[in-house]
């Protein structure tokens, strides 16, 4: 990816609130037409980034560019961005129609055209006939749609969404995720989406910036984030992960010999700089990449013996926790539901074998 596509960019942006550093020397770029998510726990600075893009906060240092234009001299009402607020901020003294038409007054558009576009927008968010309602007559999901229509009718270059699905219950949220994705594809506007829900971010986004302590830990596509996290922190935040400490014994021809605490001595391909002879690193493996069997496999895959400690039922699958000599914590193993209730019951304290494919291991630098 090159910077030529860069549509929104943050250049070394910091934001301080008094002595609190909300955003710390942040730089990244977002391309035109992307569905870009800012993901992180509360207090990581993601909302502050969004508010700086919208113009509601000014960077303490650094600059925000949208479509090549520096934004520090541009007040919110002149920015090519529109925002869907966390609580939707539907004007309570106006009805739905007036809410949606609110921003068109500043675009010098004829009355008939305004009416047409409002109807169109109501149609788009699947609320036809709701024009006369007031905000207190709408459900949470309907308010969310009104907020979306009100922002999109302005045809912004960038749509900012501040945890817009956070207030909805789980089922409605999943429904809205699909709609949001479809909507984004049809309008082709750049969406910048703030969420603390990693599943939501993975579902929706073309790329995700994982944030913590005001910094971006990693900016990548959902698939890359899941399969190639760059740090323990990111790996821990995205999905579930087992971590095992390891020592690099030797590196030769892109192959590293590792001495792991619990998984024995492993040879695996390694290209990263931090994998040097003598270095302490972390080996990470997803629960679904671990294979559980009662006997040692004969397919030549690496394996290790352990004892079942406990299991959690998750509906479509089980997580079985297997303690392995040398590992600090029991390793989580995802098994299909069928296996748990299968022919061979897996009792607590029974001895099992764990095996994995060579490419399932992710090497991460030690913090």
């Amino acid at each position: 990816m090159t910077n030529n596509d860069a549509f929104v960019s943050l250049a070394d942006v910091s934001k301080h609130f008094g002595s609190v550093v909300a955003v710390d020397h942040l730089s990244f770029t977002i391309n035109s037409g992307e569905f870009f998510s800012l993901l992180g726990p509360s207090g990581c600075g993601k909302t502050t980034v969004l508010r700086m893009l919208g113009g509601f906060e000014s960077p303490t240092t650094g600059e925000v560019y949208i479509d090549g234009v520096p934004m520090s001299e541009v007040p919110p009402h002149h920015r090519p961005t529109n925002m869907v607020f966390q609580n939707y901020a539907i004007f309570p003294h106006l009805n739905v129609r007036a809410n949606i038409a609110y921003g068109l007054r500043y675009d010098k558009i004829e009355k008939a055209e305004v009416a047409r576009r409002v109807e169109e927008a109501l149609e788009m968010v699947k609320l036809p006939g709701f024009g006369k309602r007031r905000s207190n007559e709408l459900s949470g999901g309907q308010r969310q749609r009104v907020a979306l229509a009100r922002a999109l009718i302005k045809r912004p270059k960038v749509l900012l969404l501040d945890e817009p699905l956070g207030a909805l219950d789980k089922k409605l949220r999943e429904e809205m995720q699909l709609e949001l994705r479809a909507l984004q594809e049809s309008v082709g506007i750049t969406f910048i989406f703030v969420t603390h829900d990693q599943e939501e971010a993975l579902t929706l986004s073309s790329r995700i910036a994982v944030m913590a302590r005001g910094k971006a830990l990693q900016v990548a596509s959902p698939k890359d984030l899941y399969n190639h996290p760059v740090s323990v922190e990111v790996a821990d935040f995205i999905g579930q992960m087992n971590f095992v400490k390891a020592q690099v014994m030797d590196v030769r021809n892109g192959e590293a010999l590792l001495d792991t605490a619990g998984l024995g001595k492993i040879t695996t391909s390694a290209s990263s700089d931090f994998v040097r002879k003598g270095a302490a690193i972390i080996v990470a493996i997803r629960p679904e990449k671990l294979l559980l069997s009662a006997e040692r496999g004969s397919d030549g895959r690496a394996s290790v013996q352990g004892t079942i400690k406990t299991s959690t039922y998750l509906g479509d699958r089980n997580h079985i926790y297997v303690s392995v000599d040398g590992c600090e914590k029991p390793l989580a193993v995802a098994t299909p539901e069928a296996q748990a209730s299968g022919e061979k019951p897996l009792d607590r304290e029974s001895t099992v074998w764990l095996s994995w494919a060579d490419n399932a291991l992710i090497l991460l630098p030690h913090d």
Binding site: H77, N82, R105, A151
Partner: protein
């Protein structure tokens, strides 16, 4: 007997006390209307008979009408200014992170507690030193000063009841600061603005001390009443006038206090 929590169980002695307390608050002023209909120039029991002659006399009293006119003018202007100033302050302190905002609020609140005589005297000295004549203008100025804390308190509570993201949404949609103010902020704080105006108006309308120090030859209504109190034969007329003022100001203040809270819960539950 109880469908309420242990802590909330009714307390009959306290209830009786509360009734007595309200009686203590209200009964003394009730004597004004009572005697204003009494057919006796002396304000004393027993009551002699029903009359409305004091009201009739009052309506024919030209100086009273002049004073009322003055009071209305001073009241309207000073409460409009005070409300506007209160609006600015309320918006500033609820929407922006301002360093040292607490001492600033403390200073603006001072007229609420500093004895009025001090502010009256100090303003009198300033006005005469500057060579201005005492007039309705000087009274208006003084009334702005003593009303601003009340306007501010009323409007801050109103602003706190509404979500700042409403204003952000407006500017996000393209409205400039003025446009946002007229289309979003003002409609949303309108009940508070009205409440503040009414409250400031009653403060100005009732004020005697500031008008006493800073008034010129044109009296406001309280000054007029003060003048009447010296003449015993005028007292029934004061009773009639006072009764009317009390009833009107009770109604106005009641509306104002009710407005101040009205709609706050409404918008919160609506969000």
């Amino acid at each position: 007997m109880t469908d309420v929590a242990y802590i909330d169980r009714p307390n009959r002695p306290l209830y009786v006390y509360a009734i007595f307390y309200l009686a203590f608050l209200y009964i003394p002023v009730m004597f004004l209307p009572l005697f204003s209909f009494n057919d006796n120039i002396y304000i004393t029991f027993p009551l002699k008979g029903f009359t409305i002659q004091w009201y009739v006399a009052m309506f024919k009293d030209q100086p009273m009408w002049a004073a009322l006119n003055n009071s209305l003018r001073v009241g309207c202007v000073s409460s409009a200014i005070a409300t506007l100033l209160g609006l600015f302050v309320a918006k500033a302190v609820t929407r922006y992170r301002i360093p040292g905002v607490k001492p600033i609020i403390f200073v603006i609140m001072l007229p609420m507690v500093v004895p009025l005589i001090i502010m009256g005297v100090a303003l009198l000295i300033l006005v005469t030193r500057l060579g201005f004549n005492l007039s309705l203008y000087t009274i208006t100025m003084a009334h702005v000063l003593i009303s601003v804390p009340f306007a501010m308190a009323t409007l801050i509570s109103r602003f706190e009841g509404f979500d700042p993201s409403m204003e952000e949404a407006s500017s996000d949609l393209g409205a400039g600061p003025w446009s946002t103010f007229w289309r979003v902020t003002l409609p949303m704080v309108a009940p508070g603005v009205l409440a503040s105006f009414l409250l400031c108006f009653t403060i100005s309308f009732d004020d005697f001390i500031m008008a006493f120090f800073l008034g010129g030859t044109d009296p406001t209504l309280p000054i007029f009443i003060w003048g009447q109190l010296r003449f015993p034969f005028r007292l029934p007329g004061v009773l009639a006038l006072g009764s009317l003022i009390l009833i009107i100001s009770f109604v106005v203040v009641f509306i104002s206090l009710w407005l101040r809270r009205w709609g706050v819960e409404d918008t919160q539950s609506g969000i």
